[in-house]
């Protein structure tokens, strides 16, 4: 246990670990402090001048982001001096802001809007010409830059300098002509984080651009299934579908960030053409009667699904194997991304071991070699497929089977030419459960809205076997 210190903020007693950033300590304790440039995952810049506080015994207000907690200090952010200073600073922030909220994607979750409601000077005194900078720039990696909306908090430049160490972004010019510029194009796997950390609408995502207004969306806090890391994410969705993925701070697993590959995991959920209902269920059940069932599971199922699946299968003589996605890229890229793309590999291996089934590739090969005309193959399609060719080889190997059934959570690359039946299973956003990541820690999946018949998971189909 590290040492704790006690201090007071606006009269509220706060306990924090020694050496904690003063602003972070206040935010941790549920105190609202206006700030733009401070971000826990980045170094301190101290340029937005919004988090000013007064401290007893210190002659003038100072930014709380550049201070650390100390025993017994008395900090105040609600004094008239600080309040007027923050109000004036916000006025300066908005001075050259184009106020194009109607066409700005950030509207609704914008730092400027939020603090304007609290600290705004509602009578504009600005009748002068605003400084103009370049708008609508595609700076690569699906990020759009609007330099005019930028408040030059320098979070993005610090991100590329400190986290990805690729240094693509910088600030050009001085004074009110200063603007964020990109050196050629963004080239890193974490560029979408720039959109998240931008407190205003200067950096927006091309993927999400103009798709929805954020106030129409609700967030589901769940886990990314892009690879074995299992980053904490929130997925914004409404009745029309899921629209974006954003990381949630989880210091044990992903810190503040997530990779760009993970941003695309929502796409199949509400894609047109997704298999959402079982057609001719009785016919299928009739067709598979008397045949031997063989299941090939994916690694993107929850621990609960695995065990209930094996439980439903008990007593039948079905074969089960596990299809593992091949590794892509390096084992670990130094930031977050890992080469192993199986989100619940640990959980699957454990479940297979618990029920004494071979989870290795040998098991899969044995199952594939033993296929005959008298077999029914159920292939659970992995939710995210990075290497299509690898997966197609698997599909070509199961063509020997008599009846080929795909259990698919998406509208995937497969078609009825390769399979006899396509049957729906829920996506990761439509089920509750847990996955085990590479560290062995349990990651929770939470269900959001349903975009199809999601009541039937793989154990439902396992029950057909015993009919």
């Amino acid at each position: 246990m590290s040492e704790k210190v006690k201090f007071s903020w606006n009269g509220k007693e706060i306990e924090a670990e020694k050496g904690t950033n003063l602003l972070a300590a206040a935010l941790d304790n549920g105190i609202e402090v206006a700030h733009y440039c401070y971000h826990r995952g980045l170094s301190v810049a101290g340029v937005c001048r919004m988090c000013m506080v007064e401290q007893d015994g210190v002659p003038r207000p100072f930014p709380s982001c550049n201070a650390t907690v100390a025993e017994g200090i008395v900090v105040k952010s609600d004094t008239p001096k600080v309040q007027t200073a923050v109000q004036a600073t916000l006025q300066f922030h908005l001075l050259n802001h184009p106020l194009d909220c109607p066409v700005c994607d950030q509207a609704g979750e914008c730092g400027l809007q939020d603090y304007y409601m609290k600290y705004g000077v509602y009578d504009s005194q600005m009748i002068d010409k605003k400084a103009h900078k370049s708008k609508v720039q595609d700076i690569g990696c699906d990020v759009m830059l609007d330099a005019e909306r930028c408040i030059l908090c320098a979070r993005c430049t610090r991100f590329t300098a400190e986290v990805t160490k690729t240094n693509e972004l910088g600030i050009l010019n001085r004074g009110d002509h200063a603007e964020i510029t990109v050196n050629e194009k963004l080239k890193n796997d974490y560029a979408q984080n720039l959109v998240d950390i931008c407190p205003v609408g200067a950096l927006t995502s091309k993927d999400f651009r103009f798709k929805q207004r954020v106030w129409f969306l609700s967030d589901v806090y769940t886990t990314c299934i892009g690879c074995e890391v299992g980053c904490s994410v929130k997925i914004s969705e409404n009745k029309n579908g899921a629209f974006r993925v954003k990381p949630v701070m989880d210091l044990a697993v992903n810190g503040h960030w997530m990779c760009d590959d993970g941003r695309k995991i929502y796409k199949h959920i509400s894609a047109p053409g997704r298999i959402t209902e079982i057609l001719n269920e009785e016919q299928i059940v009739e067709k598979i009667k008397g045949k031997k069932s063989k299941f090939i599971l994916s690694t993107a199922l929850t621990n609960q699904e695995y065990s209930s699946f094996f439980d439903s299968l008990k007593g039948s003589k079905s074969d089960v194997a596990l299809y593992m996605l091949p590794n892509i890229g390096p084992e670990f890229d130094g930031i977050l991304k890992r080469g192993n793309k199986n989100p619940n590999l640990a959980g699957a291996v454990k479940a297979f071991a618990d029920y004494k089934v071979d989870s290795t590739n040998d098991g899969l090969n044995k199952l594939l070699e033993g296929l005959t005309k008298n077999d029914v193959v159920y292939l659970v399609i992995p939710e995210i497929i990075y290497d299509e060719d690898h997966f197609r080889t698997l599909i070509s190997k199961i063509q020997k089977a008599g009846v080929k059934i795909a259990l698919t959570p998406s509208a995937t690359i497969i078609s009825l030419h390769e399979f006899d039946h396509l049957l729906p299973v829920p996506t990761f956003l439509e089920k509750n459960g847990e996955m085990t990541n590479y560290q062995g820690s349990l990651r929770t999946l939470r269900a959001g809205k349903s975009y199809g018949d999601t009541s039937k998971d793989i154990s439902y189909y396992a029950k057909w076997v015993q009919v």
Binding site: V103, R209, W215
Partner: protein
């Protein structure tokens, strides 16, 4: 019971049958006589040959206004569809090729049968892109498609012969500051 149908026996006893009739139809008869002898001031119209003009404040069928170059003024900020109590406005936005416009609707639909003509959309609009017109004739068949798309909302025949209503509200002020 049923001996007599007359409810106000004392009136009947006093005035008799015809006077009772006259008293009952007094207003109707006076108006009828006035209309016969003073045709211009009668209160009814020969609809649909004649049409009534409501005040400008009447909230009828929506108009999407256009800019001077004939494109829609709407920036698809979706404030109208957010504010709409009937949730009848559906907008799909996309990038505009003109970078100074940036965002424009590719589809703007109003479900006319759900609309309650409250005019909140007009109030919410920050750029005077949607207005409620004085048009009130929206009769039609049940099987008719009752969703008005932006071609109908902006460029129907009644609006400036299909060219749309041009609005430049605030534009001059805004452009002055951009100088």
């Amino acid at each position: 019971m049923g001996a007599s149908m007359i409810l106000k026996k004392d009136l009947y006893r006093e005035h008799g049958y015809l006077k009772g009739l006259y008293l009952g139809l007094k207003i109707t008869m006076i108006t009828m006589l006035k209309n016969i002898f003073n045709i211009d001031k009668r209160m009814t119209l020969n609809y649909p040959e004649e049409k009534y003009f409501y005040s400008d404040r009447f909230k009828g069928k929506h108009i999407l206004t256009v800019k001077e170059d004939g494109t829609l003024r709407c920036t698809s900020c979706m404030l109208c569809s957010t504010y709409c109590p009937a949730q009848c406005i559906h907008i799909i936005a996309a990038d505009d090729s003109d970078k100074s416009v940036e965002k424009a609707p590719v589809s703007f639909e109003i479900e006319m049968l759900r609309c309650v003509f409250c005019g909140f959309c007009e109030e919410a609009c920050p750029v005077d892109a949607i207005r409620l017109s004085g048009e009130y004739e929206m009769s039609g068949h049940a099987e008719q498609e009752w969703v008005a798309d932006h071609y109908e909302l902006a460029f129907r025949k009644t609006l400036n012969g299909g060219k749309g209503i041009v609005s430049t509200v605030d534009d001059s002020n805004r452009l002055k500051l951009r100088l």
